[in-house]
Symmetry: C2
Amino acid sequence: MDIDLDSFSARDWEVPTDADPVRLAMVGLGWWTREQALPAVEDADHCATTVLVSSSTEKAEDVAADMEGIEGTLTYDEYADGAATDAYDAVYICTPNGLHRGHVEAAAAHDKAVLCEKPLGATVEDARATVDACREADVPLMVAYRLQTEPVARRARELIQNGAVGDVVSILGHMSDTILDAADETSWRFDPELAGGTTLNDIGIYPLNTIRFVLEEDPQAVYARTESEQPAYEGTDEHGAFQLEFPDGTLASCTVTHSATVTSSLRFVGTEGELTIEGLFFPNTRKVLRVSGPDIEGEFRPEPVDQMREEFDYFANYLQRGLDPEPDGEHGMVDMRAIEALYESAESGRRVELDA
Amino acid sequence: MDIDLDSFSARDWEVPTDADPVRLAMVGLGWWTREQALPAVEDADHCATTVLVSSSTEKAEDVAADMEGIEGTLTYDEYADGAATDAYDAVYICTPNGLHRGHVEAAAAHDKAVLCEKPLGATVEDARATVDACREADVPLMVAYRLQTEPVARRARELIQNGAVGDVVSILGHMSDTILDAADETSWRFDPELAGGTTLNDIGIYPLNTIRFVLEEDPQAVYARTESEQPAYEGTDEHGAFQLEFPDGTLASCTVTHSATVTSSLRFVGTEGELTIEGLFFPNTRKVLRVSGPDIEGEFRPEPVDQMREEFDYFANYLQRGLDPEPDGEHGMVDMRAIEALYESAESGRRVELDA
């Protein structure tokens, strides 16, 4: 088995350069940006935060007060108008899904590379316009699937692609958290216009995208069922279960919920073995990868990496080298269409085929 | 948490009696009976095999030649006609699903208690007639869900019912084996008339029934997708993925296949914790139960028990005490209707509701 498990968490994508660190404008200063993204960039090798963009100057200045190296604190309007464009090279967009489009279009207009949180938008149409804006302006657009630079997910993909478990036949995935501990009912996450859904889109996208990443295949058809118990979820989805059908007959079954203990897991069952990962989808938790197959048998508990730091450094290192970082906008569009189909299926109770 | 984990594998159902061991007629001498059931009964405390029933006297005599205590070797016709009824008290039926009915009806006519393999029949109609025959003759009918006497499944049920993980929200289940290593294409398992399906019914019933057992709830609606790759599976199902919806909104997602590595797993995610079991569904393999919740955290790797021996002793011990062993025929009918609905769903691509 030709996998470098000795350097499990090594950055297999990193290439040293003499280029300056990429200067980032952080667009949207909610809890994820403040608690995950800003500390990650502070630790990063290839990028630095130089501009903060928020709903008000005060909020941006409040956040800047605790940081070094901030050259600009902007409102969304000032950012859109092109203020301080000399002070940043690229943007990270972490706002309600339905507002991504406007912020990405502004970045494209300013000729800035974009790292946009997933899902790309609240609707397929919005996401399509977002991707097109970057293509027309010829600016790189990467969608922030941090699992794709998570070492455990990368080693899982190598193992699967190298046939460690034979041909993959069945896949199981789960992700859950308790979002109402972090957000109240007035959060944009419960507003269909701004979010495009609450659970299937917000955390269903983790197993969905990670399975695509590991298999290197896209689903052809889907089915979903959603349930809502608590009042905050009236008119949107609290729990979900969904199936994905892949071209070669591989079937994936997943469950997600915003109202259960914080846990996640992923299991690939193949003709000759099995690979499981515990704890994969959360940014700083211990991950355990177990694999058993004809040529490999073992359990790996690498030191957790900061997933956000890996993602930012990957994005920045690619830009430093003049390359377009992936997963790109078209990759993100596949998830947008799949999520739309999942909600359509949950509404109709029917399997929905995806156009190739 | 009020669970007796110290005596993890103790027989919580067993009550000593002075009664003689229950004498069993084994109906159907295929590989499962020869390799699993007969050795299990040989090890059992509360029963013994006294009669063997097969397609020919020669086959029955061949098997009897290696055993002690056999008082009768019968053909199916001789068994149906009531031969040697003085030599046995109860029957174990392990024939193709579509033939269960005739053998159970014969047992009922002879006033013998029945332990019938699952699923009860190849069709809901057949299974209904089977259950009715036992009720009308007033003979006990237990369906051979060996997981219900598997200590790991019983401890899982106690933990879940005692709230070890809070309210269960999401469930994932998987079972796979490589049936073509044990059976060739001419096996009854590939004949829809005799089997009623090949994978969803044959092994899908393990997660389906065990989830029902642990939750103490029955599904209200289901969805399934099946796939077939190898020629043996033309016109029937090789791989499957299915969802179960429970009354309180709990969603279960499962995968099963007869063409992958031998493995099984079950995961219950609750509002306050998680319980997983590896290796549960196979008769003699190592099981690992992991549970994490507010009042309990641990990993249990009890010595494997012989699931078939536990099942036979449970069945016999209940009969010795003059009690009707469960899971009974009506319990088995719930799975029959669910399996019928799974195949209907796989055919139509739609969610199917089950009548209460």
